[in-house]
């Protein structure tokens, strides 16, 4: 049959996807059956049925749900900012560099370091995340590594006003700085999702890694790959 083979091929592809697994990531929670529930609670399936029978019945009927965290990269630019107030000098480079001009900084005379000149005490530091496009140019601009992008994205609110992060909000919220433009954090094997980074000294300062550093790191990784390839070729 000339007219029809292509159509049948199309139908066979959909049949294969029917039988195969679904690739949906069900967020924030997904329904689990008995085996999935057992795995989620760390028990074996018969263990779940005997020790927690109600949960097993709920799982069979389709009522049991398990929370799902989406996978995120360490560099993810989330909908929040992490600000270390001890490091911020009020230089307002971030405010100058923002393309949208949403950072508002008001400083007062600080009263310290009178010999070298007045330092700034920060009175207002507002970031309007309602208008922010999270381009992280402000993070790039900060010379003291005081401002970082955050990693959280579940920050919906009922009012537009509460999207403006004031200085107290920034100080009070948990600090999960993303590693965007902070390669020193990637060196430390820091994951912004597991831990908060309240200690500013651990946050480090960004310095461009040196060429020797990069060469050493990259060439070493590459060497193991090359070794595997050459082993396979030697076997042939």
């Amino acid at each position: 049959m000339v007219y029809g083979i292509g159509l049948a091929k199309g139908m066979s592809v959909t049949l294969k996807t029917l039988i195969g697994p679904a690739f949906t990531v069900q967020y924030p929670d997904r329904r689990v059956g008995v085996i999935g529930a057992a795995r989620a609670y760390g028990m074996s399936t018969p263990g779940l049925i005997f020790k927690r029978p109600i949960k097993a019945i709920r799982a069979v009927l389709g009522f049991e749900r398990v929370e799902v965290r989406p996978t995120q990269a360490a560099r993810f630019r989330g909908n929040e900012f992490t600000w270390y107030e001890d490091r911020c000098t009020g230089c307002a480079s971030c405010a100058k560099y923002c393309p949208l001009g949403i950072i508002k900084i008001v400083t007062l005379p600080g009263g310290t370091n009178v010999q070298e000149g007045e330092s700034y005490a920060i009175d207002t530091f507002d970031i309007d995340t309602g208008r922010c496009m999270f381009c992280a140019l402000c993070v790039e601009a900060c010379p003291y590594d005081a401002l970082h992008m955050g990693s959280s994205f579940e920050r919906s609110n009922y009012q537009r006003m509460s999207l403006v992060l004031s200085k107290d909000d920034l100080i009070a919220q948990p600090k999960h700085p993303s590693t965007w433009f902070r390669p020193q954090m990637e060196d430390q094997d820091y994951s912004p999702f597991g831990e908060t980074l309240d200690d500013i000294k651990k946050a480090g300062r960004h310095e461009m890694p040196s060429v020797e550093d990069l060469t050493q790191r990259w060439v070493e990784d590459r060497r193991t790959d090359v070794k595997d390839d050459s082993d396979e070729k030697a076997e042939d």
């Binding site: 995120q72 992280a136 140019l137 990069l214």
Partner: protein, 368 residues
């Protein structure tokens, strides 16, 4: 006695499921056949070119992300090349290779969007679309590893890229390169032999190559009519002269040809990425001599690059300040759209949207 008929004008409005973005057409029909088309756009105009005049050169990168929002890395690349030519900056080699990898990944993502939505317009109700979006999801996760954002990347800076790729990027990229060819084959198998697709697309909206050249159309639309014109090959920029790739050419120049050329280009891009991975060397991704705030000397520059939709170029005029004096974007979607009327007249209502989808335009780029 002949039946008296009257043509009818309908407004395919800015809100429509099939116009890729906010695009309006006033179409005059005689029955089902299109007699006249008047495209009306500008619904997404955000004044990007004017805004660029009051932003520094680095801040304009964030504006370029949002022009063709489906392929932001290639927009970044085109703009940055223009800035480098204007300011006389020599980019760092590792930055150039990373830029090429990002641009080719973005080309694959953009072609996947074009292919998926082409079938959505044909009426396939989402199955091919879901398959292509699944693949694009992997590319967007790679971008998230690389630069923190999935769609609006702002990854490139004059002289190279912003930050080196993290160490878990390369294994993920290799996994992607291993998985992708099978999925492209699966997608092509789903749709290529399908007789309904053939019957709908074969010989519809054929444009001959001379018309295309006269209208300055570039990109897959031109290559689907047999003209071997690809800027990566004819006017190589970056290190495209150090990689070898083929250009898929079709001669039919109908809807299906434009679509199938893009599928083959996805395969070619996969090859280019593999060659980039082999040739990339460690080093800084941006030369240390590039200042954070660039003041290029007085002059102008234009670099045309091959973005997934055609030739994209930024014409930058500098007056010595920190912001461009004028930033004019040669948007391929806008130029390709000028042929819409010629392509649609004579076809049926059902073909209108398929043709529109096969040109593969993005309203963010048309309107800027």
């Amino acid at each position: 006695m002949p039946l008296k008929t009257e043509p009818i004008t309908i407004n395919v409005g800015p809100q429509h499921p099939s116009t890729h973005g906010v695009f309006r057409m006033r179409v005059t029909f005689d029955g089902e056949e299109v007699v006249d088309v008047e495209p009306i756009f500008g619904y997404l105009h955000r004044g990007s070119e004017k805004l660029a005049e009051s932003r520094t050169y680095t801040q304009v990168v964030t504006l370029t992300d949002r022009m063709d929002y489906v392929s932001s890395m290639t927009n970044n690349l085109s703009y940055i090349l223009s800035v480098e030519q204007l300011a006389g900056i020599e980019p760092a080699p590792r930055g150039v290779w990373l830029r090429m990898i990002a641009a080719e990944l973005q080309r694959i993502a953009s072609h996947l969007v074009a292919a998926g939505f082409f079938f959505q317009d044909l009426g396939a109700l989402g199955t091919p679309l879901i398959l292509t979006m699944r693949e694009r999801e992997q590319i967007l996760e790679l971008f998230e590893r690389l630069c923190g954002a999935r769609i609006t990347a702002s990854y490139m800076r004059p002289g190279g890229v912003f930050m080196d790729a993290p160490e878990d990027f390369w294994p993920a990229l290799n996994r992607f390169l291993d998985d992708m060819p099978a999925h492209v084959d699966q997608f092509e198998e789903l749709v290529s032999g399908n007789e309904i697709v053939q019957a709908r697309c074969d010989g519809v909206a054929v444009v001959d190559s001379q018309t295309l050249i006269d209208a300055s159309v570039t990109g897959p639309m031109l290559r689907a009519s047999g003209v071997d014109w690809d800027l990566r090959h004819r006017q190589p920029y970056e290190y495209y002269d150090r990689v070898t790739f083929n250009r898929p050419l079709a001669t039919a120049s109908d809807n299906y040809a434009r679509f199938i050329v893009r599928i083959h280009e996805i395969r070619e891009s996969l090859g280019i990425i593999r060659q980039c991975i082999e040739q990339i060397e460690p080093g800084p991704v941006r030369p240390e001599t590039v200042p954070a705030l660039i003041r290029p000397p007085v002059g102008d520059s234009y670099v045309g690059t091959e973005c997934p939709k055609g030739e994209l170029g930024f014409y930058l005029v500098s007056d010595g300040g920190v912001a461009p004096y004028r930033c004019k974007v040669r948007a391929p979607s806008f130029i390709n759209l000028t042929l819409l009327r010629e392509m649609l007249i004579g076809d049926k209502l059902a073909d209108m949207f398929v043709t529109f989808g096969s040109i593969d335009i993005n309203m963010g780029e048309v309107d800027r």
